[in-house]
Amino acid sequence: MTAVLCRHFGLRHMETAEDIAGDTFLKASEHWAIHGVPDNPTAWLYTVAKNKAKDHIKHLSVVETQVRNQSGAERIRYEEAFEYHEQGIADSQLAMIFAVCNPANANKSQICLALQILCGFSVEEIANAFLTNAETIKKRLQRARSNLRNDNFQIGLLSEAAIVSRLPTVLKTLYLVFNEGYFSKTGDQLVRKELCSEAIRLGLVLTENPLTNTPQVNALMALMCYQSSRLEARTGAGGETVRFDEQDRERWDKALIQRGHQYLINATTGNEISAYHLEAGIAYWHTVASDVNKWPHILQLYNQLILIEYSPIVALNRTFAFAQVYGRENAIGEAEKLCLTGNSHYHTLLGYLYSETDTGKAIAHYEQAIHATRSKRERQVLADLKMRCAAGPE
């Protein structure tokens, strides 16, 4: 709703648009509690928002008329522009996605802004997802907004060239929002799931417009569907994390995996192989139960991925895949070459690689990993691994 309103007010009046959206929902909660939910809640909400917006513009106009006599034309233009039909909503959301995902902002700010404006998260909810306080998030959002304003970015009709040049940033933002949910530090399952499904929802908006329904977008959608299929299975009854190889495959969401297949097929039109393609390919192989070629394929995909762009986590995952293909002992050299000594995952990997051959070293690495991590949940998992290691081979 903020997106639709913003498109007509302009990004400069984002706060106004948000206030109106907020008021609308407040009115809805009061009205619906007494009169019941209307037959078409969306239409109801937009009608209220429309009226509130009109009131606001009238008020503005009155003020402006007193200052300068030129508001009549403006008002007519605004009123004509208010159309809340479905296509309008979809287009506004798309335009808003492109306005918010601006490289003028740092990664973290982009996620915060996307969560607030595109997903309607409150400051507290965002703070909860980032495990930080509301004040920090507020400041981050303020900075991000003023960056957007300074960048003078317009929400409106997007030219094909603008879409092509901005799309990578948009995808990166969705990818970050998704990962924030999937690998979030917060233990709050609800928040995590919501982040993941919001990223998918925004991705859906992209696939529904022919201009943005590109192979890369489909590859990212495939990746997110495959990953999400395990959201349920990887949480145990007590809220603890269940490791991949110990998950109950029956709890994997088959429908989401199927969706993933469809997107992956759509992603293969054209010759382009992006990092999202490779990651989707890896995620695809993770949904396959057992196949002799599974790990060699995953290793090759990681090999290609690390050649596109270096990242410590890809380097570590690649080494894990290497161990699955060539054995843990042969992977130790590969792992130690990475020299990521301050990284808890690096020590976790080495703990795993040593666990069959050198229990002492394995335990030492698990201890270093426990020392290096700041996540309480990860510490629990690591303590468990260390204990199993000390207890000897299973």
């Binding site: 090999n303 050649l307 990475l338």
Partner: protein, 113 residues
């Protein structure tokens, strides 16, 4: 960090078309360097085959291929970064090219800009 070019040489044209296993080994080696964040340029393959390789010499002499006089030919190159040339040499040692009688020349890159 300095940059070093690793220049690959082969003796036998037949080795230029690697088997899938050789490809995989080579890819593992290359990705292993990238995983250390030490790959500057994944380089290129230089085609040694007829129609893709000529040597130009003085007096307007042009010969086919690079191999009329030298027994070896260059098959490609990559650029890595390392603290010392010894570190670059250690990286080169892991390449599977030696299994087919090839060799690698390691050369520090002096940038001209």
């Amino acid at each position: 960090m300095k940059e070093f070019a690793l220049i690959f040489r082969l003796k036998d044209l037949a080795d230029f078309q690697p088997s899938p296993e050789q490809m995989q080994e080579r890819m593992n080696w290359l990705a292993g360097i990238a995983a250390q964040n030490k790959l500057v340029d994944k380089g290129n393959t230089l085609l040694p085959i007829a129609g893709s390789a000529k040597t130009v010499k003085a007096d307007d002499v042009v010969t086919d291929g690079p191999y009329t006089e030298i027994k070896e030919f260059i098959s490609g190159y990559i650029v890595v970064k390392a603290e010392t040339i010894d570190e670059a040499v250690a990286m080169a040692k892991g390449n599977p090219i030696f299994k087919v009688g090839g060799n690698i020349e390691v050369r520090e890159v002096l940038k001209r800009d």
